[in-house]
Each structure stands twice: as structure tokens, then as C-alpha cells.
């Protein structure tokens, strides 16, 4: 059983995830499979995945570079298929272990994103299906529009920054808490 930072006895155990004007949810357990390096795209295509342009997401596959991708859409048996495939097939990048994954939503979502991310993620400026590799909450991160009922953003970042990121979001959302109160 894998231990994630926010789990009991994890490195970020007890770090609160805010809810309210902005809600932060930890999705680090979401299965994902990452590859990078020569052969990545051809391997994924051979497995039947549609590989979109760089910095686009299609059917749960994030294309992060010419030869870099992360699969969120049913990656369960990809590892086995990748082990069995012949090179070049990219290098296994351990994204399920090295990256945290979180989701942001709430009535002040866009106000918050404008504060913590230098890329304009507003409606009309940043479309569904686009990926921004940038900084979110002072952390190097990958973010994309991920609506669940209402508007939302998913974020991937270095798992060691889990508590830092959660605190940065909480601090930045503080002013909206005060407005609401």
C-alpha cells in the first residue's frame, strides 16, 4: 500500500485542505502512468491512445512535451504492456509517485487562480483541453481545466510540496474568506 503525504503518518499529515470560497481536494491517489523520452508517443499510439498536440489533453492523456505524456485514462495495465513492449518506448517517469495531484474549485476559483498563477486561466483565455505548464502557488506545476459540476482546475506538482501548496492556496484564498464573512 502506497503512503501519500496527506495519509495518516504521511509527511503532510494533518495539513488542512480549504473549503468554501475555494475548495481544494487531494487527488494524489488517482492512477496515472507517465512516460518521457524517445519512443513515448509511438508506444502510446500503438496502444490505441490518441496523442494530442503538445500542451493539449485528449481523452485523459496529457501531452507534456514532444516525447512526454501522462495517461490518466485507465492506465492500470499500461505498466504491464509497457514492460512487455520493445524499445524505443520512452522511459518510465514514476508520475504516480513523484507528483501530487489536486483539484481546485469553488465560487472564487478564477479570482484565486489569477492570484496564484501567472498564466491567464480565465474563461475565454484558456480553453478546455489546454494545458499550462507554469507556476501555481509558487510551485512548478501543470494545470488544466477540469470541470466537475462547476468550473475547476486540476494541478500536478512535485509531491514533496504537498503541504506547501495546500498552505499557499489557503493563504491566497484568505481574502475571499473575509469577503464572505
Amino acid at each position: 500500500m502506497r503512503l501519500y503525504p496527506l495519509d495518516p503518518q504521511g509527511a503532510a499529515e494533518g495539513t488542512p485542505l480549504i473549503t468554501g470560497p475555494v475548495s481544494l481536494r487531494d487527488d494524489s491517489r488517482t492512477p496515472r502512468f507517465g512516460l518521457k523520452g524517445r519512443g513515448t508517443v509511438s508506444f502510446l499510439q500503438a496502444q490505441g491512445y490518441e496523442v494530442p498536440e503538445v500542451n493539449r489533453i485528449a481523452n485523459g492523456l496529457l501531452r507534456l512535451g514532444r516525447e512526454e505524456a501522462v495517461v490518466l485514462n485507465h492506465p492500470e495495465d499500461l505498466r504491464t504492456r509497457w514492460d512487455a513492449a520493445a524499445a524505443p518506448k520512452g522511459y518510465y517517469s514514476w508520475r504516480e509517485e513523484t507528483w501530487a495531484m489536486m483539484h481546485l474549485s469553488g465560487p472564487h476559483l478564477f479570482d484565486l487562480m489569477a492570484k496564484i498563477c501567472p498564466v491567464n486561466l480565465a474563461n475565454g483565455a484558456f480553453a478546455q483541453g489546454e494545458i499550462a505548464q507554469t507556476r501555481v502557488g509558487y510551485v512548478e506545476a501543470i494545470t488544466w481545466r477540469d470541470d466537475r459540476g462547476g468550473p475547476g482546475f486540476s494541478v500536478l506538482f512535485d509531491i514533496a510540496a504537498t503541504a506547501f501548496f495546500a498552505n499557499a492556496v489557503a493563504t491566497a484564498a484568505g481574502e475571499f474568506e473575509r469577503e464572505t464573512a
Partner: protein, 88 residues
């Protein structure tokens, strides 16, 4: 803040990038003298004019090249390294 245009990610704040210094030629290990190897290691283009240099967009770990004027700090263009390979 200064904006640098990443060929892969578009215009971004300069603090999303890391400079890796001027592009250097690859010496031929068979024919290069010790003295030229030392020069290759320690000497870099320090002209006041346009330098071609390596940059990395940190969040995407993408390496690319920029032509930048080392006196005016004007970025003339940025491009993918494959362009360099194609020119060789």
C-alpha cells in the same frame, strides 16, 4: 517582469526559466588538443553583441535556444534545438 517566449509554452515570466549559458561547439574527441578541450570547458561567448544561449523552461523541463543581445537584453528570437540540428 521580463517576458521570455518559450517555443513550447509561449510567453512566460523570466523567473520560470533558467539560463544555461552560451551555446558551445562540440569538439571532436579524436582531433581536439588538450588546450582546446580546456578552452571548451572554461571559455564561453562573452561578446557584447548577440549571443546564442541555452535556456530551460523549468516547469516543463524543456530546453531551447535564444538569440539575445547581451548589451540591450533584447531577445531576438527563441527556437527549438531541432532547428540547430537541421542546420548542421
Amino acid at each position: 517582469m521580463k517576458i521570455l517566449t518559450c517555443p513550447m509554452n509561449g510567453p512566460r515570466n523570466i523567473n520560470e526559466f533558467q539560463s544555461f549559458g552560451p551555446l558551445k561547439a562540440n569538439p571532436d574527441p579524436e582531433t581536439t588538443s588538450d588546450q582546446d578541450w580546456a578552452r571548451h570547458l572554461f571559455r564561453a561567448d562573452n561578446t557584447r553583441g548577440v549571443i546564442v544561449e541555452w535556456w530551460r523552461h523549468v516547469p516543463s523541463n524543456y530546453f531551447f535556444l535564444a538569440e539575445r543581445n547581451a548589451t540591450t537584453n533584447e531577445v531576438i528570437r527563441t527556437f527549438d534545438p531541432s532547428e540547430l540540428e537541421a542546420a548542421q
